[in-house]
């Protein structure tokens, strides 16, 4: 079992690495040649617009009466600025570069993609950046997945209440092995059977939040497909949660290790203490980057394969592209599970280090 898992992990990584690098090479090459012909298909913005957050949910672009039209789902914009206080409105008010109540969605330049507030004082235009608490595409997608996770597990709990201790059926049969996997192969394995129960709710919640988001991110239909776990803010928050849990559970031994690392001469302390303190933060930082980069890379490679059709402007590329997209999809499903597993097990490892007793 372990060998098999290792094998899958390794092959997954190798394939992922190979294909993303090949794709990037292809994509950048094509971009250059494209720059000369100008216009046409902009692969760079095609890919980045998909993986980045936005204030509206773009569904489709179509042409009617010779005019290009965008089918968008408007999302609420919530802004707070010192100048005008709190303002809430739908993002459709800002479409096509319109200015609403002095707010404008910048499309290029320094603040591209951000909402800015333009104020005039003494005939001069000042640009302010308000605090943006908008329900963006990512926030909306994240809410959707939170609702799905809640629905899944609340109904799971309900079915357990109903069926008692009889054998798992239906939803239970699907989710119970995964719950048991997190409990036995992550929490119990890393934290030991005396401590694992305390951290199990956090580990389970983090695992299923990440996993369900990874999976939903692969479904290209509204309201799914938002790049939630491939957003640095989301992974930052998750990593910070692990960091906080780790620090709160830190036992005497853990802090002693930081101020006086065993086996290191005392005169090295001025070097060791900063190093140890930095290492406190590099762990969650690595968690944040790992999840973000993996998911973004997956989305990017998928989009690159699709983009190839438009770059080559040939329908004959499509079968190959689709084959690779399907191939990547299966890998992404694996990676989605794997990254949830890696995030959770590393969180457990960090917590395990913090609660380790003197030995």
């Amino acid at each position: 079992m372990i060998n098999f898992r290792k094998f899958v992990v390794n092959t997954g990584w190798i394939l992922l690495f190979l294909f993303t690098s090949v794709n990037f090479a292809l994509a950048s090459e094509k971009e250059h040649s494209e720059d000369s012909s100008n216009e046409e298909f902009d692969a760079r913005s095609f890919i980045l617009d998909h993986v980045k957050d936005s204030h509206e949910w773009h569904i489709a672009t179509y042409t009617s009466h010779g005019e290009e039209k965008h089918l968008n789902v408007p999302l609420p914009v919530i802004l707070y600025s010192n100048n005008s206080g709190l303002s809430i409105f739908m993002s459709s008010k800002l479409a096509h570069g319109h200015t609403y109540k002095g707010f404008k969605l910048e499309e290029e330049g320094e603040y591209a993609g951000k909402i800015v507030e333009i104020t005039e004082s003494e005939g001069e235009e000042n640009i302010l950046i308000p605090l943006d608490f908008s329900i963006t595409k990512t926030v909306f997608g994240m809410f959707v997945s939170v609702i799905i996770v809640l629905w899944l597990f609340l109904s799971l709990a309900k079915s357990y209440r109903k069926s008692g201790v009889s054998e798992p059926k239906g939803l239970q049969a699907v989710l119970e092995p995964v719950v048991l996997f997190v409990r036995d192969d992550i929490a119990k394995l890393i934290l030991g059977k005396d401590h694992y129960e305390k951290y199990l709710p956090y580990l389970l919640s983090a695992f299923f939040f990440i996993w369900i988001n990874n999976i939903l991110g692969l479904i290209p239909v509204f309201p799914f497909g938002a790049n939630v776990t491939g957003n640095i803010s989301v992974t930052l928050v998750l990593a910070v949660f692990t960091f906080i849990v780790t620090q709160i559970s830190g036992k005497k031994q853990y802090w002693k290790h930081i101020v006086a690392t065993p086996g290191v001469p005392f005169w090295l302390a001025p070097v060791m203490i900063p190093v140890e303190i930095i290492s406190l933060f590099t762990k969650p930082f690595a968690l944040m980057i790992r999840l973000f980069a993996n998911i973004v890379a997956g989305h990017m490679s998928l989009l690159t394969f699709i983009g190839l059709i438009f770059i080559f402007k040939s329908i004959y590329v499509a079968p190959g592209s689709i084959f690779f997209v399907l191939f990547m999809y299966t890998i992404e499903i694996l990676v989605g599970f794997l990254q949830a597993y890696i995030f959770t097990i590393l969180s457990a490892v960090f917590i395990g280090q913090a609660i380790a007793e003197e030995h």
Partner: protein, 164 residues
């Protein structure tokens, strides 16, 4: 929006959403789910243990049965042995008893014979006395008639007497 720059709005919503998720799931999902799984596992463990116990019990019972059967067999053999002993003892006793009894009977028969004999002898004596008196009477009567004849009578009478 930049790809690698965290945004305050998203962080804000993510913190809220994740905390809600964590607390709701912890209270209303993980607790009942994990408890149910745990109680099921314990039940299975208990069932397995009791099955094992029953097996052990069975084994013990079987062993006990064997012991009981063996004891019963021994008991039977002992009883048979005893019965045999008693039988031979009884035969022996009966034989001895019969010997004593027959001896006694012989003894008593002998005694009876003796007493019968004595009685007969005394009867004879009586008869002899009567005969003697008769003879004497006859002799006395004959003496009065003939001396010779008297003598012959006496001697013949005595001859008769001796026979008795």
């Amino acid at each position: 929006m930049d790809l690698v720059t965290p945004g305050i709005g998203l962080i804000f919503w993510q913190v809220i959403a994740f905390l809600v998720l964590l607390f709701v799931l912890k209270k209303y999902a993980w607790k009942p789910v994990l408890n149910a799984i745990k109680s099921r596992e314990e039940r299975i463990k208990g069932a397995l243990a009791s099955a094992e116990e029953a097996k052990e019990e069975m084994k013990k019972l079987k062993a006990d049965n064997e012991v009981i059967i063996k004891e019963a067999k021994d008991e039977r053999n002992k009883l048979l042995q005893e019965a045999r002993e008693i039988k031979s003892q009884m035969i022996e006793d009966a034989k001895a008893q019969a010997g004593i009894e027959s001896k006694k009977m012989i003894e008593s028969a002998k005694l009876k014979i003796e007493s019968e004999k004595d009685a007969a002898v005394s009867e004879i004596k009586k008869l002899v006395a009567v005969f003697s008196v008769d003879i004497a009477e006859k002799i006395l009567k004959k003496e009065l008639d003939d001396k010779k004849e008297q003598q012959a009578l006496i001697s013949s009478s005595l001859k008769d007497l001796k026979l008795n």
